[in-house]
């Protein structure tokens, strides 16, 4: 019980951040609450490094939530963000959901490759290959004509 409470308080902010970035702030708390409810029921299976396991549960709940809604809630970003950051987010959102997930587990949620692999239920080697491809596709997306035009208009405005 004490061990679970300790993990709960330590991991709650990161599970909430994961849920908010994938399903929006409005449902993030509900998904986080449901994640820990499932984790409590299955706490005998909880590994010592619980975060990847918890994010794996949250990931399934995010998917369920998306299947049940007809539209996704857009994440609110600060209006004062630099153009380069906005551009990068746009390039990211042009990728497949799988590519976005691989990249954001590392870049946004700070997981090591082995932990991210655990969230996705694949081996570290498989994850590395997926990351490699996703990074390549993100790089390519940043240099498509659409982004080049946007970059040019930004420079000349």
């Amino acid at each position: 019980m004490e061990e679970f409470s300790s993990v709960y308080r330590e991991c709650y902010p990161r599970v909430l951040a994961y849920a908010a970035s994938h399903a929006g702030a409005k449902v993030a708390e509900d998904i986080t609450s449901e994640t820990f409810t499932i984790a409590w029921r299955k706490s005998a299976q909880m590994p010592s490094n619980a975060l990847p396991w918890l994010l794996g549960i949250a990931r399934n709940l995010v998917r369920q939530s998306r299947r049940q809604t007809t539209h996704y809630e857009l994440t609110d970003f600060p209006a004062e963000d630099e153009f380069a950051v906005i551009e990068l987010r746009a390039a990211l959102s042009s990728l497949s959901e799988a590519d976005q997930e691989v990249l954001t587990l590392i870049a946004w949620h700070g997981l090591a490759a082995a932990e991210a692999a655990q969230v996705l239920g694949c081996t570290t080697a498989t994850f590395f290959v997926r990351l490699h491809r996703a990074r390549r596709r993100l790089q390519a997306a940043l240099w498509t004509p659409k982004f080049d035009q946007a970059r040019q208009s930004w420079k000349t405005s």
């Binding site: 019980m1 679970f4 409470s5 709960y8 308080r9 709650y12 902010p13 909430l16 951040a17 908010a20 970035s21 702030a25 993030a28 708390e29 609450s33 820990f36 409810t37 409590w40 029921r41 299955k42 706490s43 005998a44 299976q45 590994p47 010592s48 490094n49 994440t75 609110d76 970003f77 600060p78 963000d81 380069a84 950051v85 990068l88 987010r89 990211l92 990249l103 954001t104 590392i106 870049a107 946004w108 239920g121 081996t123 080697a125 498989t126 590395f128 290959v129 490699h132 990074r135 993100l138 790089q139």
Partner: protein, 337 residues
């Protein structure tokens, strides 16, 4: 590439503030709920949909006292289904500044008394192994092919093309990498001396070949008693060390044996290990690792890993991809230079 991930980190959306009151009230509500009884095995949980049938069989084996004969179904299952994931490393490029590529693929194999069906190079890819390897590969101009270091062939970097093989066979072939074939695994003796003689009659008296054949047999469609006898024999083969319980993943262990392997064309100090699930007796992983450092590669680095994702008797016919020609050419990523 590395900078790209750093830039992406800058594009992270704002982290929502934690509502402490809700967090604590949720915790109180959650911990008032009943909990499930402990379940068996992380592996089974992870691959639950795939392993449902295997889990039932494994559970029966686990719950039976060891002295009791395994329960046998009224009609023998038609197929022995083995799904493995293979990962291996190879040094390629300029011999003065080589880099590592990783081969990654799955093999889905069904064996019956007279038929073998196999999907090879499933989900296969060859890619630079580490960030350093990736940088060397990029500096070399991201070549599609790279020459093996110390070998006469080249390696094709990128996705592998899956292949489908169907063949009528007699007897039981141990593995795709072995020509050894038994007339029937059911006739395999459980007596240690007889078993040793049987294996030596197939591969000679070379301890490494006997040990690796025994490792192959551990994943074959043998009875629980036969598998136990094979593992006990394995422990007694000259040069084999019993390592006891070793970690497989962060939260999972297996019992392992190890034997020094003959040198490959790239690596000389290599050890082959087999890790077995102590509850079911089924193999979990077979691994070749460096026992001494070589160039920049550390001792202990796995250069070849075979994970047994599924070992299962089934009456369900093989499920194979429909868009791959049967017995078409297998386009190996190892090509003529």
């Amino acid at each position: 590439m590395e900078d790209l991930l750093k830039d992406l980190a800058q594009a992270k959306p704002p982290t929502p503030e934690v509502d402490r009151d809700r967090m604590e009230s949720d915790l109180a509500r959650i911990t008032a709920l009943p909990r499930e009884r402990p379940a068996r095995g992380q592996f089974v949980r992870r691959f639950a949909p795939l392993l449902a049938a295997a889990a039932v069989i494994a559970l029966v084996v686990v719950l039976l006292p060891r002295s009791v004969e395994p329960v046998r179904p009224a009609a023998p299952p038609r197929w022995w289904h083995v799904l493995t994931e293979e990962r291996s490393l190879m040094l390629v490029g300029d011999p003065a500044a080589p880099y590592l590529v990783e081969f990654l693929s799955k093999t889905d194999r069904w064996l019956s008394r007279d038929t073998e069906v196999a999907v090879l190079q499933k989900d296969g890819t060859v890619a630079p192994y580490s960030r350093e390897s990736e940088e060397t590969w990029e500096a070399a101009g991201r070549p599609d092919t790279a020459p093996q270091v110390g070998g006469s062939h080249s390696v094709r970097i990128g996705p592998m093309k899956p292949a489908l093989r169907k063949a009528s066979v007699s007897g039981y072939q141990m593995s795709l990498h072995s020509d050894v074939r038994l007339d029937s695994v059911s006739s395999l003796p459980t007596d240690q001396a007889e078993l040793r003689r049987t294996l030596e009659s197939l591969v000679g008296e070379d301890p490494y070949r006997v040990a690796t054949l025994a490792m192959d047999l551990m994943s074959a469609n043998v009875s629980d008693d036969q598998r136990r006898a094979v593992f006990e024999l394995l422990k007694t083969v000259e040069g084999v060390r019993y390592l006891g319980e070793v970690p497989v993943t962060e939260d999972r262990t297996g019992v392992a044996v190890a034997i020094k392997a003959p040198p490959t064309f790239q690596f000389s100090d290599v050890e082959t290990r087999l890790l077995v699930n102590p509850e079911t007796g089924l193999p979990i992983r077979r691994i070749d690792l460096l026992t001494t450092s070589y160039r920049d590669l550390p001792a202990g680095l796995p250069i070849s890993v075979e994970d047994y994702l599924l070992l299962d008797s089934t009456t369900i016919d093989p499920i194979v991809p429909q868009d791959i020609p049967v017995n078409g050419e297998v386009e190996s990523p190892i090509i003529e230079r």
